[in-house]
């Protein structure tokens, strides 16, 4: 077993490098990803090693980044699009929803839409407006797409490679506030499949589901809760769409309590959807209603007060208390 310690940014870079090495049809495209290596340096050095023909600095047009990726995919390429920030994906929304998601179905299986759209998403870096959003539910809602999010350098390294090799289009949500945090990466074994959830902490009192940036926050909350005698089970969903439901069902049947943590606003969110599905699957095991700890139903706030918007350890602990208070 070869294990190395990398930041998530470096792990993504290494994963992209492997993908470029393994398949000559893999292309990276996006704004500033070549010479600059991307504004987060995720593609650092890749243009130098693989050429400007495969690591493409694109004009500033997100709809065109995705729209031309569609044509390249039809031609047999595997484009990996970098959208510079979450809030810049909306100009490409039409191409993603109307073409990327539907062309395989429209052509009755002829077109392969093996496209990855990388979104540095969510907040926590003190950015200006449009640089901190969590748009995963928009894409999860659209049939034809898959949505995944990595929470550790190990998962980042493997999930990006698995996403690129996959034949369906994938929205790849990268928690930008975790880019610079280090973790062990097993270079030989991914450990689990791209669409599988991961129980990252075992517990018996309450199940907390999270993904991306919220996994670490939730684990911290679970540690604090443990000092108060509460046993919190934490599941990293990893695949937001489709959900890996079976381990969630097993966990909630065991604990009888469910909390979902994410940064997106609460309405029509993935948290709401997970609660809906588990309410049906685990109805007779539930001892409290499913709760969400999420952003508020407001635009993302200015940086100085963003911590009041994002799910915090305290808000997760509060939700655990509220869930336990039902006492059923």
């Amino acid at each position: 077993m070869t294990t190395t310690s990398l930041t998530m940014a470096k792990a993504l870079n290494a994963g992209l490098r492997k993908a470029l090495e393994n398949d000559p049809k893999v292309l990276l495209m996006g704004e500033d990803i070549g010479k600059l290596g991307g504004v987060f340096r995720i593609t650092d050095g890749l243009q130098k090693d693989f050429g400007a023909d495969r690591v493409i600095d694109s004009p500033l047009a997100e709809s065109a980044i995705v729209g031309t990726a569609v044509g390249l995919a039809i031609r047999g390429y595997r484009p990996v699009c970098e959208i510079q920030f979450d809030g810049f994906v909306y100009p490409a929304f039409d191409q993603i929803v109307s073409q990327v998601a539907k062309l395989r179905s429209r052509t009755e299986g002829v077109y392969r839409m093996g496209i990855v759209i990388r979104l540095p998403f969510a907040g926590g870096i003190g950015a200006v407006e449009h640089h901190s959003e969590s748009p995963e539910a928009y894409f999860a809602h659209t049939a034809g797409l898959r949505v995944v999010s990595c929470s550790t350098p190990h998962d980042a390294y493997w999930m990006i490679q698995e996403a690129i090799a996959h034949d369906d289009p994938i929205i790849f949500c990268e928690p930008k506030c975790r880019y610079w945090e280090k973790g062990d990466v097993d270079l030989d074994n991914p450990g689990r499949g791209l669409f599988e959830a991961n129980r990252v902490r075992e517990g018996s009192d309450v199940t907390v589901v999270a993904w991306g940036p919220s996994v670490k926050t939730t684990l911290r909350a679970a540690e604090v809760a443990a000092t108060e005698g509460r046993s919190v089970e934490v599941i990293d969903a990893r695949s937001v769409a489709p959900l890996d439901l079976a381990p969630l069902v097993a966990s909630v049947k065991k604990t009888g309590r469910l909390i979902v943590v994410h940064e997106a606003p609460p309405t029509a969110s993935m948290g709401a959807d997970i609660i809906r599905r588990l309410s049906e699957e685990c109805f007779y095991s539930l001892r409290a209603p499913g709760l969400q700890v999420s952003g508020y139903h407001t635009p993302y706030p200015p940086a100085r007060i963003e911590d009041a918007f994002r799910p915090s350890v305290d808000r997760i602990l509060d939700a655990i208390d509220r869930s336990m208070d039902y006492g059923l």
């Binding site: 292309l27 729209g67 031309t68 569609v70 031609r75 052509t107 369906d168 489709p242 959900l243």
Partner: protein
């Protein structure tokens, strides 16, 4: 319209017109072939309109008036080229070999596409207009990477020319020198909105601002459209990058069978364009120059009639897909919601009552 801006090789009366840069390379058999193509596609369109009126199609987007633009371009395209159409490119589809029945599958409501786009090297219709221009540019970038001498063709109209995606496609095509021909059919009307609402300058001149050549051709002159498109494609094949071809034409029919053009345009305007009819013009050339007789034209008419009748029969016996068809190609790999949905539908049985 400033006539001097427009490439024309045959006048509306069927007389040859000299042009400094273009001359027709076509022999009489090819010209008669184009006449046949145009006549057949108009007949197919009329049959489809009748089928819609009889409740057999949900909708139809007629191509009447634009046959020369489409047949001229469609016949200029080679095996090497790949087209990205809207829902009105029936003439191009015909030239690519798409069977007429497949053109109707979308409008019959048994498919969201209609044919195998890789087989015909012709994509299925894009309905969100403008999107397909970016697809065509991306495909052309793929051609470049493969180092082959192919080209892609993006089809759109005066209406879609206002879409942001079309401007983005122009930028990208220029920046990457992509082997793409933007084939713009300016049929003067985007449903009820005149092309003057979309643009203050002739549309072909937009290309110059993006850094590649644009040219306007008489879209009702099949010989001119053929030569202009052929040269633009050859330029792309040879690595010369993109060209915008504006085929200046007219939509004689409604936008679709749901449209009522009497609410927004005058009979007098339609009359003017009737005199420029692309099929009559080609017929006049064949009579004037090649002494073609009524028997030649009658033979084509009968062939078109037979194709239309067969199309009607085939359409009416086209089976509806099994409802579980919706699950078949939503994803390439297994997906739990697809499996759940299919199982539910099969277990519950399918009711046709939804309201």
């Amino acid at each position: 319209m400033n006539e001097s801006e427009l490439v024309q090789l045959v006048s509306p009366e069927g007389e040859r017109v000299r042009h400094p840069d273009y001359e027709s390379s076509l022999g009489v058999d090819e010209i008669f072939g184009f006449y046949r193509d145009m006549t057949i596609i108009r007949r197919i369109c009329n049959e489809a309109t009748s089928l819609q009126r009889q409740g057999e199609l949900a909708l139809w987007a007629p191509v009447q008036g634009q046959e020369a633009a489409q047949i001229g371009c469609g016949r200029a395209m080679t095996e090497k080229d790949f087209g990205f159409p809207t829902y009105r490119e029936h003439g191009i589809a015909w030239c690519r070999g798409v069977p007429p029945l497949n053109m109707l599958r979308l409008f019959r409501g048994v498919s969201q596409g209609g044919w195998d786009p890789q087989h015909y090297r012709f994509s299925t219709p894009t309905i969100v207009l403008g999107d397909q221009t970016l697809t065509a540019v991306g495909y052309a970038m793929g051609i470049q990477k493969d180092g082959t001498d192919e080209a892609s063709v993006a089809f759109f109209g005066d209406g879609a020319s206002s879409q942001g995606d079309v401007s983005e496609a122009f930028v990208w095509a220029a920046s990457f020198d992509a082997p793409v021909v933007f084939f713009l059919q300016n049929n003067q009307w985007a449903i009820s909105e005149p092309s003057t609402l979309q643009t203050k300058i002739p549309l072909y001149r937009r290309a110059e601002g993006f850094g590649f050549p644009g040219i306007r051709v008489d879209g009702n002159d099949v010989l001119a459209v053929y030569e202009v498109t052929k040269r633009a494609l050859e330029n792309a094949h040879e690595g010369g990058g993109p060209t915008l071809v504006e085929a200046f034409t007219y939509r004689m029919s409604p936008h679709t069978t749901s449209d009522d053009p009497t609410r927004y345009r005058t009979d007098a305007e339609v009359e003017v364009w009737k005199h420029r009819d692309p099929i009559e013009r080609t017929k006049a050339l064949l009579v004037r120059e090649y002494k073609y007789k009524n028997s030649h034209f009658e033979e084509v008419r009968e062939e078109a009639e037979a194709i239309a009748l067969k199309l009607r029969d085939d359409l009416l016996s086209l089976p509806d897909p099994d409802p579980t068809f919706i699950f078949d190609n939503a994803y390439a790999a297994p997906h739990p919601l697809i499996d759940d949905g299919r199982r539910d539908m099969i277990e519950l049985g399918v009711s046709s009552v939804t309201s």
